[in-house]
């Protein structure tokens, strides 16, 4: 069991505070395009979904990196597994961008790969998410909540008419 950024899709309003706080932390400026978390808004469905690196156990980006710049580490305060880019080793070849199926790693203006590093155990996107759509929690929390929601819906469908 490890901690990860758990997304509660139903609560995201699409405000993009996560993007702003991520870029502020990593780049010292408010700039959604430099964020490592990104939201997509489906306006007429009143839905928005944030997408961020899920720190794969067996990561495409790690496997493909020819320089060996991407490695699994354990974040000391939370014990969370995190894939980190060693900026000194990374040559900016963009192989990781091609390999990641989710679009969660990109080579930025400084010429090296940038991705979610969990902010040393205090992810700013989670800290500032104003509607509780993001949690830094046990990875099982997300599954558990989804199962519970499904079970609730199933239970409702099975209610005997009054």
């Amino acid at each position: 069991m490890t901690q990860m950024i758990v997304i509660d899709i139903g609560k995201c309003t699409g405000c993009g505070t996560c993007e702003l706080m991520c870029s502020f932390r990593h780049h010292g400026e408010f700039n959604p395009r430099k964020a490592r978390i990104h939201k997509t808004v489906f306006l007429y469905d009143e839905l928005a979904v944030p997408v961020v690196c899920s720190q794969c156990e067996d990561a495409w980006c790690e496997r493909i990196c020819p320089a060996g710049a991407i490695a699994h580490t354990i974040e000391p305060t939370s014990g969370a597994a995190v894939l980190k880019v060693d900026e000194q080793i990374c040559v900016g070849c963009r192989m990781c961008m091609l390999a990641c199926p989710f679009g969660n790693i990109a080579v930025g203006a400084k010429g090296h790969a940038e991705k979610c590093d969990l902010c040393d155990g205090d992810p700013q996107c989670v800290k500032f998410c104003p509607r509780g759509a993001l949690h830094f929690a046990d990875s099982e929390r997300g599954e558990g909540e989804k199962r519970r929601k499904l079970a609730t819906a199933l239970a409702a469908s099975y209610k005997e008419s009054e």
Partner: protein, 620 residues
């Protein structure tokens, strides 16, 4: 030099010659007028003759962000469209939130100034420093959502668009500007001025960022606001949005009913935010957020009823008050349909709804013959209301007359007593007889009747008592029916809201309980300037308010325009908790002028001008 808060650049666009240039922001003006509303007023005051016709090429349209726009400040997401109003003849400043606003900053501009007039329909595409003019002939006549989607398709998937609809093209005097698929810079006809310049849309794609002067201080200021907002009121506003206040407005007896003939609506229970959020909202009790907004009060509604079917943003509180209660349809389906039409055609729902309610009263009184309208239009005639909204946008039949605004329509019939508004701009959805502070605000706001430029209703109606405005006075409650305390409160709240609308943040964060000191902290941390404490902060707000009024004086408006309809002044409210009350404007206006530092004619005195640093501008 790295700029903090401001990008320090202004994009100047010459529509006559289809050329553009970039210049440095007037730093001194920025420090004195901040941005948005204030800085826009300053540039407009400096650059046009306020007496010029609003539709002449000499008028200019300014899109102005604030130093907090595009930052992580709570709801730091707004731009203000500033121009001379074709509706009031005074200054217009309408604000809207959205990624269009934040992308203007990310593209590197504090402000875009549109001058002149294009010879044919155009739209502007701002792709960071690359500026291009595109032919908009094929977009002319398209609705706002059609325009936005077409412009995105023709530019970039991540371009953000602000545009006008057919109403703006046809110079409906209360046409608005719409961005981000339904966010409106709504009032005073700013969209009509765009239309008069043949400017259909502005698309922007910005890839830069916004930096602040003191990162740690700025983060702490944001956290302080978040702590204030973490309460049930914010949650309620998130779930029900602006319509969530309907019940309270009903309870105070200030809900405009049948064109302000009554203050209570016996069918008010059909018009509540809870009902909207539980029925027509695409997702129940779920709000969508503008950039960086911790509240997220926006919503999408879908009407399946075939008479009024549609989907889109809103309706907001004011729209429901006008189309639902004042037009007396008492039907959220019909209200939503009228709202969809206004948004798609690009016109202000408040002025449109108020004007239609006014028409209904005049129809019932026999002042407007049925033949003029083309069909019977008594109060409650929902399909007729929707039809007339379409006719206004198309300037078809009677709609052509009402497109001039309700005042000019009543003038046409020689019965201006039916017009419910100030400075030719229609009242929003509060009856001033039961809210004396609102009455004084309506009379004195530079942009005419308006609910968001000095929200005294936040104090007496919504019980907001966290601001210094009341704390510094030791006030624990504000009585909506008393008039004695309102001149002083009005001055301060108007100045305070000038600051909110100049910083580039949404006023709902402050409506929800954040206060002046938190705003000043955000502003100082972002820009690095020293506002001179609370006093200096409020003095800046006052400078802005007075500059707007100076603009109006030079445009020809006088203290005679600081008035209210006879109905508000002489006819007591016949019903509800405020029964028997009229607006005590005669008693409130003289002390208000005195506190403003104005003479009896409503003109700024030399002493006050000197105190505010406005001497140079008064002698122009």
């Amino acid at each position: 030099m790295t700029m903090h808060g401001w990008t320090q650049k202004v994009l100047r666009v010459d529509l006559t010659n289809l050329s553009s240039s970039v210049e440095d922001l007037d730093r001194e003006a920025a420090e004195q007028y901040i941005g948005g509303l204030g800085l826009g007023a300053r540039y407009l005051y400096d650059e046009i003759d306020p007496a010029v016709d609003a539709y002449s090429p000499e008028n200019k349209v300014l899109f102005v962000t604030g130093p907090l726009t595009g930052t992580g400040a709570p709801a730091g997401n707004r731009y203000v469209v500033v121009t001379k109003s074709p509706l009031t003849g005074g200054i217009a400043n309408s604000t809207a939130a959205g990624e269009f606003a934040t992308n203007l900053k990310y593209a590197g501009y504090d402000m875009v100034i549109f001058e002149g007039k294009a010879s044919h329909p155009v739209y502007l595409y701002i792709d960071d420093e690359r500026i291009s003019f595109r032919d908009a002939s094929g977009l002319w006549g398209k609705t706002t959502s059609e325009t936005e989607l077409a412009v995105v398709a023709a530019t970039a998937p991540d371009a953000k668009v602000s545009c006008i609809g057919p109403a703006g093209e046809k110079l409906v005097r209360f046409a608005c500007v719409i961005n981000d698929m339904g966010r409106a810079a709504g009032r005073s006809g700013v969209g009509a001025v765009m239309g008069s310049k043949n400017l259909k849309a502005v698309a922007v794609r910005g890839t830069g960022g916004v930096r602040v002067a003191d990162n740690a201080r700025f983060l702490a200021a944001i956290e302080s606001c978040y702590a204030t907002l973490d309460d049930p009121y914010t949650e309620h506003f998130h779930q029900t949005g602006t319509p969530g206040v309907l019940e309270l407005v009903h309870a105070y007896g200030v809900m405009p009913t049948k064109n302000f003939q009554f203050g209570t609506n016996p069918h008010g229970d059909r018009l509540t935010g809870e009902l909207l959020a539980d029925t027509l909202s695409v997702r129940k009790r779920m709000g969508m957020g503008c950039p960086a907004c911790p509240i997220a009060c926006g919503r999408i509604t879908r009407v399946k009823n075939p008479d009024f079917a549609g989907i889109g943003a809103g309706p907001e509180y004011e729209t429901i008050g006008m189309f639902g209660s004042s037009c007396y349809t008492n039907d959220l389906d019909a209200v939503s349909k009228a709202n969809f039409i206004c948004n798609e055609m690009g016109m202000d729902t408040i002025s449109a709804g108020n004007g239609i309610a006014c028409t209904m009263e005049m129809f019932e009184a026999g002042v407007i013959p049925q033949a003029d309208i083309g069909f019977a239009l008594p109060f409650g005639e929902a399909k007729g209301m929707v039809r007339l909204a379409e006719m206004i946008a198309a300037r078809e039949g009677f709609g052509d007359l009402l497109a001039e605004g309700a005042y000019r329509m009543t003038e046409h019939y020689g019965h201006t007593e039916y017009f419910m508004g100030v400075k030719k701009q229609e009242f929003p959805s509060y009856d001033g007889r039961g809210l004396q502070g609102m009455a004084l605000g309506y009379a004195t706001q530079p942009r005419g009747a308006c609910h968001i430029r000095g929200e005294l209703q936040d104090l007496d109606l919504y019980g907001q008592l966290g601001w210094r405005v009341t704390r510094d006075r030791g006030m624990e409650a504000v009585d909506p029916l008393s008039w004695e305390d309102k001149p002083g409160l009005s001055v301060d709240v108007q100045d305070w809201f000038c600051m909110i609308d100049s910083c580039g943040v949404c006023n709902f964060v402050w409506f929800m309980g954040c206060h002046e000191d938190q705003m000043r902290e955000l502003l100082e941390a972002a820009t690095g300037i020293d506002m001179g404490g609370h006093e200096g902060f409020m003095r800046t707000g006052s400078r802005i308010f007075n500059l707007e009024t100076l603009f109006n004086r030079r445009a020809g408006l006088t203290s005679a325009d600081d008035t209210l309809p006879e109905r508000m002044l002489r006819t007591p409210l016949p019903d509800g908790p405020a029964k028997g009350y009229v607006c005590e404007l005669d008693k409130m206006l003289p002390p208000y002028y005195e506190l403003r530092g104005w003479d009896a004619q409503g003109n700024l005195t030399a002493e006050k001008a000197a105190e505010l640093g406005l001497e140079a501008l008064t002698t122009v």
